[in-house]
């Protein structure tokens, strides 16, 4: 399972041995069950509050799993002076718009002119087909008549809300919203989507294909069929109490909690950002990805994919393992992920693993799927900016197989220079982003 670094190609653009364009983080935006403003959500996460409650998207009372981390869509007061019109937005698109507006505005780009061809969008996203909209007026007789189904499909497709159901519409909509005429990319690699999108955005800037990139992720699978599907897969926690259900690295963990929302960031070439006096929140210094090539629903028991992507990320960043202080873990609260991720961290970091501070903010917000890496990137940047680490809540019962420092229960002040954020997806695509504290110096 060991991936020798000497086998990796040399001479990376984003590595230490070549002069490269540096990538700053200049804006952040979120849409989560814990709030819609970055500072509010960050305070809540640090305070160890849980955003998980009973699902209200559909009548969930009778469902075996009925908890999730839901965003209050009615509280999204979207700007109307930017396309598209809210009437055509599904949940994913609405979250993406909201978080992107916040990120764009806080980056100071509302007032600074951008060069449209040098500005891009690269987001990880999921848009599951809105099956609920097919239930109106459905009767056994309709199911018996295939042409009746086809006629209903046709009628539904003519309605305006049927637009934007394809995944690609997420980045396309963001490009249109902000007038970005560079690449418009929606990445989908399941739960690794947003992290892989941030990695591709980092490459876009470092390889000189863009100066400003809107990135991160948005997703919602808070629908009856998705909850049913994940429940049948045995992936969801059946814990009786909503705020205790997501318990990464705890011995009694029994699955993840479904979440939804968005975490969006604006990345900008460092000198470009400095010239216009942009607020620099942190620096992306490396990215690595890998494939488990094992099974669709299970991580490789040795964690070989997780090991490879963390190693590639550190090599890309040109940092030694000992320089990393904080890990925002994938930490899904499933039995398998948390023990395999722990094992992989030990393999990559050796003795230093015991000195790492590791936390899973999925303990507060559940698993945002394609958006997970976006919101967790936001938290990693904020942890470095504020030099305070978010806690893993609900870690009440130590697990002998998960024996590292997961910052249990309470946030912690710490001097941290470099943080990594991990995402490991269904299907076996993995990603790790490396972020560095920005102290205002070169």
């Amino acid at each position: 399972m060991t991936t020798s670094r000497s086998h990796e190609p040399a001479g990376r653009p984003d590595g230490p041995d070549r002069q490269r364009r540096r990538v700053a983080v200049v804006g952040l935006g979120v849409a989560t069950a814990l709030g819609l403003e970055v500072d509010d959500v960050w305070r809540a996460v640090l305070a160890g509050r849980s955003g998980i409650g009973q699902i209200r998207q559909f009548p969930s009372d009778a469902f075996p799993v009925k908890i999730g981390s839901e965003v209050d869509l009615s509280a999204l007061n979207l700007r109307l002076d930017r396309p598209p019109t809210p009437a055509t937005l599904n949940r994913t698109l609405a979250f993406a718009c909201w978080a992107a507006d916040r990120a764009w505005d806080t980056a100071g780009l509302t007032v600074a002119p951008i060069d449209p061809p040098r500005a891009a969008s690269c987001v990880g996203a999921g848009v599951f087909p809105a099956m609920e909209s097919r239930l109106d007026g459905l009767t056994p007789a309709v199911l018996d008549d295939p042409s009746a189904i086809a006629r209903r499909d046709l009628e539904r497709a003519r309605r305006p809300e049927s637009a934007g159901q394809d995944l690609g519409s997420v980045s396309l909509m963001l490009s249109a919203r902000f007038g970005l005429e560079g690449p418009s990319v929606t990445v989908h690699s399941a739960c690794a989507s947003a992290t892989q999108a941030i990695g591709e955005a980092f490459h876009m800037i470092s390889s000189d294909r863009a100066d400003v990139v809107l990135t991160g992720g948005a997703d919602s699978m808070m629908s009856m069929f998705c909850v049913a599907g994940f429940t049948l897969l045995g992936a969801l926690s059946r814990h009786p109490s909503p705020d205790g259900a997501s318990r990464p690295f705890d011995r009694t963990r029994d699955g993840f909690v479904l979440g939804e929302g968005a975490g969006i960031a604006v990345l900008e070439e460092l000198e470009h950002a400095r010239r216009r006096g942009a607020p620099i929140l942190g620096e992306v210094i490396g990215y690595g990805s890998s494939l488990d090539a094992y099974r669709f629903t299970d991580v490789h028991p040795d964690g070989r994919g997780a090991v490879a992507c963390m190693r590639r990320a550190l090599t890309s960043a040109g940092v030694r393992p000992e320089e990393v202080g904080y890990v925002n873990a994938h930490g899904t609260s499933t039995y398998q992920n948390d023990r395999v991720e722990t094992r992989a961290l030990k393999e990559v970091f050796g003795d230093h693993a015991r000195r790492l501070s590791i936390s899973s903010t999925k303990s507060q917000l559940g698993h945002l799927l394609c958006a997970a890496g976006g919101i967790e990137f936001v938290f990693s940047v904020l942890a470095l900016r504020d030099q305070v680490l978010p806690p893993t809540i609900n870690l009440d019962h130590p697990d002998p197989e998960c024996d590292l420092d997961y910052v249990p229960h309470h946030s912690r002040e710490a001097e941290v220079g470099v943080a990594i954020s991990n995402s490991f997806g269904f299907g076996g695509q993995n990603g790790t982003v490396v972020v560095r504290h920005w102290n205002g110096a070169a």
Binding site: S60, M131, P146, A157, S184, A293
Partner: protein, 438 residues
Amino acid sequence: MARERPAAGPPEPTPSAGRRVVATGLGVVSCLGQDLPEHWRRLVAGESGVRRLDGALAAVLPVKLQAPVVRFSVEERIRNRMLRKLLLPSATFAVAAAGEALADARLADDGARLERCGLYFGSVGYEVPGRTFEPALRSSFDAGRAFSFARFAEAGMEQVDPLLIVKGLPNAAPCGAAIEHGIRGPNASFANGPASGLQAALAAFVAIRFGVVDVALVGGSDSLLLADHFVAHHVAGRLLLGDEPPWLGARPFDERRRGYVLGEGAATCVLEAEEHARGRGARVYGAILGAGETCASPRGDEDGRSLEAAARAAMGDLRQPTVPHVDLVFATGIGTVADDIREARACRRLFPPPAPVQVTAATGALGVTGAASGAYGLVHALRSMASGTVPPTTGHEHADPCCAMPVVGRSEARAISSALVWTTDGARNVALLLGAVA
């Protein structure tokens, strides 16, 4: 010596352009064939893979044609039993085409190289085949024969396929290919409709050029033969109606063009750093010299300026003062009135008279293949460069004066030293500049 384009072959990249990227393996599953040799033979012969569409959809819609992959055997093409059970058709095409490209590049059993091999792939959105939920819904009606959430939770839910979420994953194709072939390197997957295949190739091109990875499998797969796609494309008024012969996927740039037929398939390509390919004695089809990608403003791209910008970026990637010579454009040619005019306008500004460049498009043979379309263009361009055969624009017979540019009608023997391949859907444009390698 004055700065002139070389007589043969494209210009060498300058050092600032990074490592040179070459293609060393190709693979295809299409409505024309199970592999590249069969596909290429029938494409060059001007055949189309269009067939009649039957069933409930054709009864309700005036759409009567489709371009399906036929005679494809999952058992023969995929070893992994779990994948045979899990993957939807478009992903199985991807796994098979990936196998062909890796074998063609002589990497199929090279475990050490596959461990580090990249995988950049364009694929579909969530696929939920039409009748997936029918058994669950049938068990979810209450006494009044109306759908009931409580009944669904109690009885219907059990009828949902437990693997629903996994089977429909948009990244099932690359993950399936990784599992089947043991690919473990850097990767990304793109879900942006027709742009996806070339976006994947572009990402791999950049990753190889700058040393993130030495070798990568790229491509795209899709199946638009699902009820939702037929309905959405029909409502948009873009599908060819009726079944009057000849059965063609479209008539690109032809004055009688009326829309397109939906299709499916996969195309893949192994890209590699040139020194890595030379070092292991691999056969080289051609080089990727530059890439460009743009997105049109929300006002649209009626005059093709956004596409033009992507093509210019691909040619400008060489970072040399003169525009490189281009022999041929592997275009989209989707066969709707407005789209083809937009594409032609971009061509005309890029290569104005008196030296226009010929264009070829495969939509007439293959129909519209979504995320696979750009990958087909890439494979066709590389195969064309290596073989000296230019594929025809099947279905193109009567030039449209509104698309004033030379279109390849019948296939012809001709040496191609450099080519542009692009996809354009009115919003996203991705272009690659390819060059022959001695």
